[in-house]
């Protein structure tokens, strides 16, 4: 173990670009051993998609060009809705966000609290989600390799990046419906909103607190409330401007 104490950061609602920029800033500083292991819990301020690091968005691009041509030739009254998406550092398929609580766990791969084996690490971290849901009165179970189920419905999933000696594990817990329809041109992971299963909407703040307690318990770490460091915010702003808001990153495949 490198750090006895982990940092808990609650950043509330931000847009997709900002959320991805913060995660990479923390990852870079983690690789330089300038921040402690961190769990960040957050949500999205508007419906959007995140797409996997190696995922192609070419079908989405051609669809957007077609919609633009239709708009220009037929002069419809409103521009077609533009789908907001951002490319993640983590693998897998796209994920729709909006009604979900998201979390990112960022830790050195040398930290022995998280197994280096990919499958084992998903399981270990997912038990934090399961414990968090239990504290909210929801019985859930791990479904290998990456999902958490309530009954037979996947309510949470995750993806990872392993770079510069650091693990970035990004997860999502579907509390409510995302507010946009699933985009057929973009293969996506399927989650079922908890609100549809338990008949009530869980408050974001309550869910965030329970998830934090779940990670404390399941990982056995001292998770101390903290904030993003100034150097982290500066780096995130730079990544936001130079990378995550740029088509050359988001549409690179």
């Amino acid at each position: 173990m490198l750090f006895a104490e982990w940092r808990l950061i609650l950043t509330g609602a931000s847009n997709a670009y900002v959320n991805m920029a913060i995660d990479e800033a923390t990852l870079i500083l983690m690789a330089e051993r300038r921040v402690p292991p961190s769990v960040r819990i957050y949500y999205y301020d508007a419906p959007c998609y995140t797409v996997g690091y190696l995922q192609s968005v070419s079908r989405l691009q051609s669809m957007a060009r077609h919609a633009e041509r239709v708009y220009q030739s037929h002069g419809t009254e409103t521009l077609p809705d533009t789908l907001v998406y951002v490319r993640r550092l983590t693998g897998g398929q796209s994920c729709v966000h909006g009604g979900d609580l998201a979390y990112s766990l960022i830790v050195s791969l040398a930290d022995t609290l998280i197994p280096s084996n990919v499958l084992d690490s998903y399981e270990r971290i997912s038990y934090g989600v399961i414990e968090g849901l239990r504290l909210l009165g929801v019985d859930a179970r791990f479904a290998p390799p990456t999902d958490v189920l309530v009954d037979r419905w996947p309510v949470a999933t995750a993806a990872q990046a392993r770079r510069q000696g650091v693990l970035l594990h990004q997860g999502t817990v579907a509390l409510g419906p995302p507010g946009i329809k699933r985009e057929a041109a973009l293969p996506s992971v399927m989650t079922t909103p908890l609100s549809e299963l338990i008949g009530t909407q869980i408050d974001f703040e309550d869910a965030a607190k329970s998830l934090a307690m779940g990670f404390r318990s399941a990982l056995g770490v001292d998770l101390s409330p903290g904030i993003l460091f100034a150097k982290e915010k500066r780096l995130a702003r730079q990544l936001l401007r130079d990378k995550y808001m740029q088509a050359r990153w988001n549409a690179m495949r």
Partner: protein
């Protein structure tokens, strides 16, 4: 049973490199492919790309995990394993053979000697398993 090929050297981050005359072949170790589980996609560099030792040369995706792969010695890429675009599972099935990633022309072959030999690398992996992490 994890294999440790004796005829090549290793990075602590689990890449191997094997010298073949003026050229070298590189890939990831059997231990690494076990840790990654089923490889579903390999993103390889372009022929002609030049890397310094330790730079990211490829990305391997397995179980929704995108993992960087580092180049064990500095040099220019002279070939990539085209079979992996249709058969990424070769990395799992034969990581020391048909699952190779790149062929390169080393610019500083002495770097090879400073890497771990198979015995030292095996010791590192066994210690990591005992500690429960890397």
């Amino acid at each position: 049973m994890v294999q440790y090929a004796k005829d090549r050297h290793y990075m602590t981050s689990h890449e191997w490199v094997k010298l073949e005359g003026d050229e070298a072949v590189a890939g990831i170790s059997d231990f690494a492919q076990h840790e990654l589980s089923d490889v579903v996609y390999v993103d390889l560099p372009g022929v002609g790309d030049v890397f310094a030792q330790g730079e990211t040369m490829a990305t391997v995706e397995s179980v929704k995990a995108a993992s960087d792969i580092y180049i064990p010695v500095s040099g220019e890429i002279i070939a990539v394993n085209e079979r992996l675009s249709d058969a990424p599972q070769l990395v799992n099935e034969d990581s020391f053979g048909t699952g190779w990633l790149v062929r390169l022309r080393p610019s500083n072959p002495e770097q090879y000697d400073a890497l771990l030999d198979a015995d030292a690398y095996e010791k590192q992996c066994q210690e990591a398993v005992q500690q429960g992490g890397h």
